[in-house]
Amino acid sequence: MKKLVLLILTLSMILSVGLCPAQADEPTKIIWWLYASGDAPIDTQFVQEAANKYSAEKIGVVVELIFKNDEQFGLDMDTGVYYDMTFTCDWANSFVDNANNEMFYDITDLVKTATPALYERIDQKYWDVAGSLNGKIYAVPTLKDMASQQFFRMDKERYEAIGMELPESMEFADLEAYLAAYKDNYDDVYPLMLGKAGLTGMSNSAQWISGSYLCSPYHLAGTERENQIIPFWEDEVLMERFRLLHKWYGLGYINPDAATTETIGREIRASVRSGSAWAGYYSGYSAWGGMEVQGVSYAGPFMSTATMRGAMNAINAAATEEQAVACLKYLELLNIDRTFRDILRFGVEGTHFNYVDVDGVKAVERTEQGTNNWSMDGFVTGSVVNASVTSNAIYDWEKIYADYDKALLSTLGAFSFNKEDVEAECAACSAVMAKYNAELYTGTLDIDEMLPTIKEELEKAGIFDIQKEAQRQLDEYLGK
């Protein structure tokens, strides 16, 4: 009797496994690591559920969202915690380092065969320059602002009140006249309030190969020094800007303790702040200083690996092909389906946001819950271009991308410097530059006076070895 029961049990178990519908009906689950400098948004679970419902139906893939910060990314990547898809870029979870170490899945062929729509959607130059390394595609670029154009965000109200009209663009040196005028008329705040990072973006007129000491300036393209990697003091444009800053510091236009100030708070009515976006972005009311601003462009737009690698998503090299395809399909859906994209971008319709119509454009207006519980930068969960625009910031992405055709494309192509053999020198040089960066970029330091000292220290730290190695790699890359 017992044996019969045992036999029946065993048989039924086998049968149930056999009869159980294959896992193909269950949606594939992928783990997606996203970037958050602090904590994950409060309504993550809620939004995740809504997104999963939609994506399970459309493509049979569901996602588990985990937000990580810099330390967590480093530790988890290093110890091999499993993930399917992860955020990667040039300022967090370094794309170049990880791709060089073969941490990412090679999707060169897979993306063309499994998700051709995704492949079509993203322009070839972004695949080539941003998502590739050594000719193979390792990451899917996220479409957002792909070129870097540098702006001064200036206090429109006050400048116009003293008769200084703000043009669309000007040269860096032209700022001086404005600062002088401001100083004569207003004394409650320094004309150029800077934090220790200075005018961020000021150095974006060059492509930085290593740290803040080796670069390849865009303006050298077409000259005989094209494709040369040079130490920063040979970049005349940058040096001129340092000299100007120091001059302005001496004239009292810059706050004296800039080099030790963390940031210029929101409450301070700084007449000039830096900005990095596209033409027309900075205009209108700004919460920074509570005033009307206008963006005045002084450099760019430039495009290079640095500007295009602002945000990407890569797949784990240890993932199976099935999982990789699921990830690609998910990204494809994000890039093609606007409704789906909006879920991840803005939350659940009705709870976190509502669709409104602004002059014929379908825009989004966040609710209070949306602003508090599900808000992060656009690029974190996918392409900004494919999401709806918010009602207070209607951007014409078509036009912006069309303008990118006019951008100066770096001649370095997809070159990325592999630091492996000169890592010690890089660390030492970084330490030297860390000493001087704050004072250089805030004008506290007289560059001509300090240059011999800085040069000497960098030389001892090994900058010329790094330069040689980088140039060698670049020549090899270009020679191909």
Binding site: G38, T44, L65, S274, S286, W288, A393
Partner: protein, 314 residues
């Protein structure tokens, strides 16, 4: 057990013979003034932090920090209050973790400290070396992380926040030294004469007269656990936020704000508009410090006064 008169209630000074053993009034006065100054020196900054947390962001931007801000505002606390469900849960987590961790820590530290204080213990040398080595040589963050998550499976558990910090060589040594110097041999001997096991001697004879050191180490553990957030950052994923301790929640909020402030030109206006930064940081400090400062008196009564163990003398 023999009739050992163990007096455990702290006797206040100014009682009996001690009345004649007090400081001269002048000396006492000088000392008192000194300590009042020290207390001010250490208390004022906290008061300062409190005042800043109540200042408005605008006045900080205009005039910097001041003891007498021109404008007050509860904005920073209001912002924290918005997340009160979230913070409330983490508060309870922290209390639980702190209590569990402190108790565990005291057990681990005192048992080993006592063992090492016994002069005739056979493995004394070995154990002393054993606890000293980790003081210097550590596997490092990555190895510890890997062992804790992949071998012990502690990721996303409360244990990950309690176990790794549950003992420390430094505290064991303090306990050991205390047991060696202030617990007279006579107590141990009399216990042994009466056939008590070491365990019994430890719990019933030694511990009751060691309240000062237990309170001290207990205090240190309490502070460590209450203030700890790094472990939470390492071992808790963002999809397990019900496990978050208080400090980690607050630090995350602060980091988000700092990140946005530093990268402000890349962020869209909608998010930035309502965040207070400087005052927020100070409000967070207050929320963390107040509960723990209030717990201090609980430990304090064990520090004051003397204990008469003289009754045990042979």
């Amino acid at each position: 057990m023999p009739a050992i008169t163990k007096k455990t209630t702290p006797r206040p000074t100014g009682d009996g013979l001690s009345r004649y053993n007090q400081l001269k009034p002048l000396t006492d006065f000088t000392f008192s003034v000194l300590f009042i100054l020290l207390a001010l020196l250490t208390f004022l900054p906290l008061l300062f932090v409190f005042i800043i947390s109540l200042s408005s962001e605008a006045t900080i931007a205009q005039h910097g920090y001041s003891f007498f801000p021109k404008e007050l505002s509860l904005d920073s606390y209001a912002y924290l209050w918005q997340s009160k469900d979230y913070i409330g849960r983490s508060f309870i987590n922290s209390i639980g973790i702190t209590i569990a961790g402190t108790l565990l820590g005291l057990v681990l530290t005192s048992t080993l400290g006592y063992t090492l204080s016994r002069p005739n213990y056979r493995l004394k040398r070995l154990y002393t070396v054993m606890i000293l080595v980790p003081m210097f040589f550590s596997g490092g963050l990555v190895a510890r992380y890997m062992v804790n998550t992949q071998i012990y499976g502690l990721k996303n558990t409360y244990l990950a926040l309690i176990l790794p910090g549950a003992c420390s060589t430094f505290y064991v040594i303090i306990m050991r030294t205390f047991f060696q110097t202030t617990v007279p041999d006579s107590i141990i001997e009399s216990g042994k004469i009466d056939g008590a096991s070491q365990f019994r001697i430890f719990t019933q004879l030694v511990l009751p007269i060691s309240l000062p050191v237990i309170a001290t180490i207990g205090l240190f553990f309490t502070f460590n656990y209450w203030n700890a957030w790094y472990g939470a950052m390492l071992y808790l994923d963002s999809n397990h936020r019900e496990l978050y301790p208080l400090q980690y929640v607050l630090i995350s909020i602060e980091r988000n704000i700092s990140f946005m402030a530093r990268n402000e030109e890349y962020f869209s206006e909608e998010i930035i508009a309502t965040l207070p930064t400087e005052t927020m940081r100070m409000a967070i400090v207050m929320v963390v410090v107040l509960p723990i400062a209030c717990s201090y008196p609980f430990f304090q009564r064990y520090f004051v006064g003397g204990l008469t163990i003289g009754a045990v003398k042979g």
